[in-house]
């Protein structure tokens, strides 16, 4: 006899999961990277399912933290989490470096309220800033002295997006959702510099913690003008975003606005096609960093398909393919960083459709646009694996 999952239990799990996502968004370490500049790598806030379609289904996906109106897609209580390891290789001239990073980018729960509404609570990674870099370095002093040694910089943490969303369907062809976002999290940073000559040069160790607090709100819509065709759009308005250290505000900026639209076509039996476009005003974060921060607004274009595959038992496998091109928000060496990815995924219905296991794999190429010197020659290739699990009791 199956033990029922209560809403209260799901809510508790959600709170715990949100805390976990905020405190420990990444377990492993990476180093230098094209994608890890500035305040970090934008994980995308897409579910494993949406990632399998290149993100094209993100505006329609209830687990993805993009469009709150999509919460109605499930129509019943759900809980979801996912694990996203990334394996990447950076090459810059003769430098070749393999890195690994693991993320737990989304944990979400949702439940219907008074039949007309769907409420969702989620915690997701907006910007992941986890890395470790240790390298040999020779310091040159003003009197010409050269002091070889090693430097180490390390960061752990992220800016997390804790979202409370509510969605409703005022008409058969229209779904509406709104959400409020609390942006929170921290970066725990460690820096050390030591010299081979310990007699004349003292080791320097520094550590600090940057805390983030901010607000945002999102309005999302999804319309079905004709059968089998759905349009969705969302707009996230970023509020104030602050960084603080030891309870003292050290910089104030704004959370990025994001506008996205998507088209889903479901007129071919067993297949769903989607296209999506979004624009994120990351430049609103400029005042949050130093004058050296290279931040750019970013566009994202993606397309994908989800189709029924062979049956495994009573339910069919879901097959997904997709591609995406986007600009990353933080540049390096005067160059913007473009990320192009393609990949696919599988969806495996479980427990008579009450649970779904999803897997996706993307191949991403990150290249600098502009810049000079070693940065211009840098290339970063990555495999982004995502494993998600959704329960719909």
């Amino acid at each position: 006899m199956r033990r029922p999952v209560t809403r209260a239990a799901l809510a508790a799990a959600g709170v715990l999961a949100a805390v976990a996502a905020t405190v420990a968004p990444a377990a492993l370490r990476a180093q230098s990277s094209l994608g890890l500049q500035g305040f970090g790598y934008p994980a995308g806030q897409f579910s494993t399912r949406a990632q399998g379609t290149g993100g094209a289904l993100g505006e329609f996906d209830p687990v993805s933290v993009v469009n709150p109106s999509a919460l109605l897609e499930f129509g019943r209580t759900f809980a979801a989490f996912q694990y996203d390891p990334e394996f990447r290789r950076l090459t810059a001239g003769s430098v070749r470096q393999n890195n690994t990073v693991a993320r737990f980018p989304i944990i979400a729960v949702g439940a219907p309220v008074r039949r007309k509404y769907m409420v969702g609570l989620s915690a997701s990674t907006l910007l992941d800033r986890t890395f470790t870099a240790e390298f040999a370095d020779t310091a040159r002093f003003g009197d010409g002295t050269l002091a070889p040694g090693r430097q180490r910089v390390e960061s752990n943490g992220s800016v997390a997006d804790v979202r409370l969303a509510v969605a409703t369907q005022p008409a058969r062809w229209l779904r509406v959702g709104v959400s409020g976002h609390v942006l929170t999290g921290e970066n725990r940073l460690v820096s050390s510099r030591r010299f081979d000559d310990t007699t004349n040069f003292r080791r320097i160790d520094d550590s600090t913690s940057l805390d983030y607090t901010g607000l945002a709100a999102t309005l999302g819509l999804a319309a079905t003008p004709v059968r089998g065709v759905q349009l969705a759009g969302s707009y996230r308005l970023g509020g104030t975003l602050k960084t603080s250290r030891n309870d003292s505000t050290i910089s104030t900026g704004n959370a990025p606005d994001r506008a996205g639209i998507a088209l889903r076509v479901d007129r071919v039996t067993g297949a769903v096609f989607a296209l999506a476009y979004s624009h994120t005003r990351w430049s609103k974060m400029r005042d949050l960093g130093t004058s050296a921060l290279e931040v750019h607004d970013a566009t994202e274009l993606s397309g994908g398909v989800e189709a029924l595959g062979p049956r495994l038992g009573d339910f069919p496998l879901l097959l997904r393919l997709g591609a995406r091109r986007r600009t990353l928000p933080f540049g390096v060496g005067g160059a913007r960083v473009r990320e192009t990815s393609f990949g696919g995924g599988l969806g495996l219905p479980l427990a008579s459709g009450r649970a779904v296991g999803d897997v996706s794999l993307q191949r991403a190429l990150r290249t600098p646009q502009g810049g000079a010197g070693p940065v211009a020659d840098a290339r970063e290739r990555a495999y982004l694996l995502s494993v998600g699990f959704t329960v719909r009791p």
């Binding site: 180093q31 694990y83 470790t132 870099a133 320097i204 910089s251 049956r311 296991g357 940065v375």
Partner: protein, 431 residues
């Protein structure tokens, strides 16, 4: 097709997740080579250099080391115009008048002695001579006033007071310990009269020579201190008796104890100090420097390097045997309640981790003393502790060579300076 059970499907998903996690965990993390290519997500702040003229007071302090604070004794001679003659006195004011027979019974008065000798332990690191040298021992006991005054004692090194001598062929064959035979008759007379035995040591050589002996350490008599050994009778059944350094003059017992061993710089060629900062020499001097460093360099930056730059001028009386004077910087720990600088220098400590620097007294130019630990230590010292430094020779009082540096009274380019390399405390971590 056989339907898959829920358990098997779950197991497949969990297994896939575990596989991914395992793959991630097993990935070999490499160094941050990309940082060298300018791709480091965070860069450490650059090191900033600045040079200050922070010395507000510098002076050479004489009268050091204080009596009793001399672990080694110097015997030195150098013939010629710049002649050098440094001797030493070791006091044995407790010569026994009787001894206990090995077989037991009442003590027996000493009437005759045999095999009397003073054992001297050489500090081979400070011993320099090329040809044979002779160490002579004199009876320098006197009832005259001023029995610690150099001139008074020097006058007692007369042939009629010679107790014995020993010739050392060369430092390489001498070893660490020298046994200098003393006159048995003279010692027996001292024992019978319960008189003081004060032995003056002098080095005789046709060429420049230097012998350094271990004296009576700050902690008291130890295994390397001079010691007189004698047999209290002329037959061989008696166990040898040892007499250790002891002094009953001058003044209080505490002061007298400090004079168990004394250096006698009888003739030392030297220039006047002038405004120079002099370290070492005989009589020895040490340098006291007080700094006024802006507080931000103490409290608000991360110091990487701090170097005290002193401009050396060649010593006017170089000793060919002294090719280096090792200077030890010390942090002054006395508060401003101690206004006597010499006394304050006695409270200076090397515990903060300042490294010594060996300097050739014949050289000139800028010498660099690493004092980064001193500046870091200042952060922890009470605010009423002067930011001060003492520079003293490690062989202070036992080395004739001296170092001379320009003081703050010299031309601007020659004055002491402080070069700081530091990292400002900025908004580390903010991209």
């Amino acid at each position: 097709m056989t339907p898959l059970s829920l358990a098997r499907r779950l197991a497949a998903v969990v297994g896939l997740a575990a596989l991914a996690a395992g793959a991630a965990c097993s990935e070999q993390l490499e160094g941050g080579a990309g940082c060298a290519a300018g791709l480091c997500p965070v860069t450490n702040a650059a090191v900033v250099d600045t040079t200050l003229d922070p010395v507000v007071l510098d002076t050479a302090l004489a009268g050091v080391p204080v009596a009793g604070d001399l672990p080694v004794l110097l015997l030195a001679t150098r013939p010629g115009a710049d002649s050098l003659d440094v001797r030493a006195v070791v006091r044995f004011d407790s010569v026994p008048g009787s001894f206990a027979p090995p077989a037991g019974g009442d003590s027996v008065r000493i009437t005759r002695v045999d095999s009397t000798a003073i054992r001297l332990t050489l500090d081979t690191s400070g011993t320099r001579f090329t040809g044979p040298v002779t160490i002579q021992a004199y009876d320098v006991d006197t009832a005259a006033a001023g029995d610690t005054v150099v001139d008074v004692l020097a006058a007692l090194f007369r042939p009629d007071r010679l107790l014995g001598e020993v010739t050392l062929a060369s430092p390489t064959v001498t070893g660490d310990t020298v046994s200098l035979r003393l006159s048995n008759d003279a010692f027996a007379a001292k024992a019978q009269a319960r008189a003081r035995l004060r032995i003056g040591l002098r080095l005789v050589s046709a060429t420049s020579a230097r012998v350094r002996l271990f004296g009576v350490g700050v902690g008291g008599v130890n295994a390397v201190s001079p010691v007189v050994r004698f047999d209290p009778a002329t037959d061989t059944i008696f166990r040898a008796v040892l007499v250790f350094p002891a002094s009953v003059t001058p003044g209080s017992s505490e002061l007298a104890r400090a004079y168990r061993a004394q250096s006698l710089p009888v003739r030392v060629p030297r220039l006047t100090d002038g405004s120079d900062l002099v370290i070492g020499g005989l009589p020895a001097r040490r340098v006291y420097m007080r700094f006024a460093v802006p507080a931000r360099f103490i409290d608000s930056v991360d110091l990487v390097r701090a170097s005290l730059l002193l401009t050396q001028r060649a010593s006017g009386a170089p000793d060919a045997l002294d090719t280096g004077v090792t200077v030890r910087p010390l942090a002054v720990l006395a508060t401003d309640a101690v206004t006597d600088l010499r006394r304050a220098s006695e409270f200076a400590s090397g515990a903060v981790g300042l490294d010594t620097l060996r300097v050739d007294p014949r050289g000139s130019g800028v010498r660099v003393f690493s004092v980064v630990n001193l500046l870091r230590a200042w952060r922890a010292l009470p605010t009423n502790t002067p930011r001060a430094l003492v520079l003293r020779a490690t062989a202070e009082g036992a080395q004739a060579a001296e170092l001379r540096f320009y003081s703050i009274e010299a031309a601007a380019e020659l004055r002491p300076r402080l070069r700081l390399s530091y990292v400002p405390r900025t908004n580390f971590g903010l991209p």
